[in-house]
Symmetry: C2
Subunit: 251 residues, 2 copies
């Protein structure tokens, strides 16, 4: 809440900030993202120049649920959590997104303004490339490949969410947590001497899996004893991936 103003009026970083990394670097940034797969690096560079770069501190919102506005963002560094708030005030985490992933897709604003249906919050210092939707739309028409890529990304996310929906509808918390940790270590994991580290608190894991932090704590404590994970403060290190993959339905 105290960061709301930061979301409404994010830090505008002087262009020098990017040009320090060199123009070539800026283009290659886009090339690495699946959103711009198949585009030439010169095209990427052109697209990059019509964007601005913004820095967000930990806990800052990149955008907020209910906010109007059409910004498409590409995360350059850091991880961002996408959350949705219910009318009753309860929050779930829909996605954890990391480097080179685009966020802020919206329906083409056919009539009136569209509102974001979830919030995006920085988990650490985040650097993001930002396009106003109207400027980006030009490229969508100019490079059909971008639309095709958007399709692939949306479809992949839909498939993941379908799977998670089935899990939460049919599986118990332990198995859901196992699956979530595997996905997280792939998507936003960091190398660690004992395995792959995932930077999420118990409460956040609970919001992701659809349970309470107490239940998460119990399960992680057990897995920690068994050497399957390291249950650290505001983080989990996944050690025994094989165990999590083969987690039995009953336990």
């Amino acid at each position: 809440m105290e960061n709301l103003s930061a979301a409404a009026r994010p830090l505008r970083v002087p262009l020098a900030c990017i040009q320090d990394r060199g123009i070539g670097d800026r283009g290659s940034l886009l090339t690495g993202s699946s959103l711009f797969a198949g585009l030439s690096s010169s095209d990427c560079m052109r697209i990059a120049t019509s964007a601005s770069v913004r820095i967000f501190d930990r806990h800052d919102f990149l955008f907020m649920q209910g906010q109007t506005g059409h910004r498409l963002m590409l995360i350059q560094s850091g991880t961002v959590k996408l959350t949705q708030l219910s009318s009753g005030g309860e929050e779930v985490i829909l996605w954890m997104t990391g480097e080179r992933e685009p966020i802020g897709f919206m329906l083409d604003p056919v009539e009136g303004k569209c509102r974001y249906t979830c919030s995006a919050q920085a988990m650490e210092k985040v650097c993001a490339v930002v396009w106003e939707y109207e400027r980006f739309q030009v490229f969508l028409d100019q490079f059909p490949r971008i639309r095709a890529n958007m399709n692939s990304i949306l479809f992949a996310r839909l498939e993941e969410l379908q799977e998670r929906f089935r899990e939460i509808a049919t599986e118990r918390v332990a198995k859901r947590l196992a699956m979530a940790l595997l996905r997280l270590s792939r998507q936003v994991g960091r190398p660690h001497q004992a395995g792959i580290q995932v930077q999420l608190s118990r409460a956040e894991l609970a919001q992701l899996v659809g349970t309470t932090l107490f239940t998460i704590s119990r399960i992680l404590s057990k897995w920690d004893e068994e050497g399957i994970v390291l249950a650290r403060r505001e983080a989990v290190v996944v050690c025994n991936t094989a165990f999590l993959e083969n987690h039995p339905d009953a336990d």
Copy 2:
């Protein structure tokens, strides 16, 4: 299961079957779908002629989870349920789709074959327009608007599933059922003298909401007594939409 052969080798309806309805009718069929919004009726007609029409009986599969193959289908009449099976054999209903809705989206098969991640089963006699993906891809390149429409559809579905994910993660069964009935009456409801009828059994509602048929039965019995719905055999008639919309978080 007994219908598997029907899914693998669906009834090929002689072209006469469609041409009975007249060519113009066939084109207008596509025009009504959001997938082809913005295309001229002559373009629609051209696209339609490269499709075939197939009829499926109740319980037949339009496609099955795990199956390879790339067919995009547009439902002409009838309703189809999209289900996903877990490794443990439990099934959830991901979507209920009705007239003019496209199903069978797949990622562009970049390498090797893609497999369907869910099954599509006819709830009643279904007539569907079917494109082999390769033939459809030509139109995707030719009419960028179709890709844009696919984007909108995928995004809308993603948003709905995000909402349902939040519900199942935070709300109790009664509220989830209330929301599900409202969505169903919009998407696949039929007019009924006392309200809007939804053709789903208790077991199917349970698979959609993520609970058991017993819990569904109890809630519907209560709502039936209170006059909010009519709990009929393999169907529910939604009478008091306002009540369902304002369903309290606690109950």
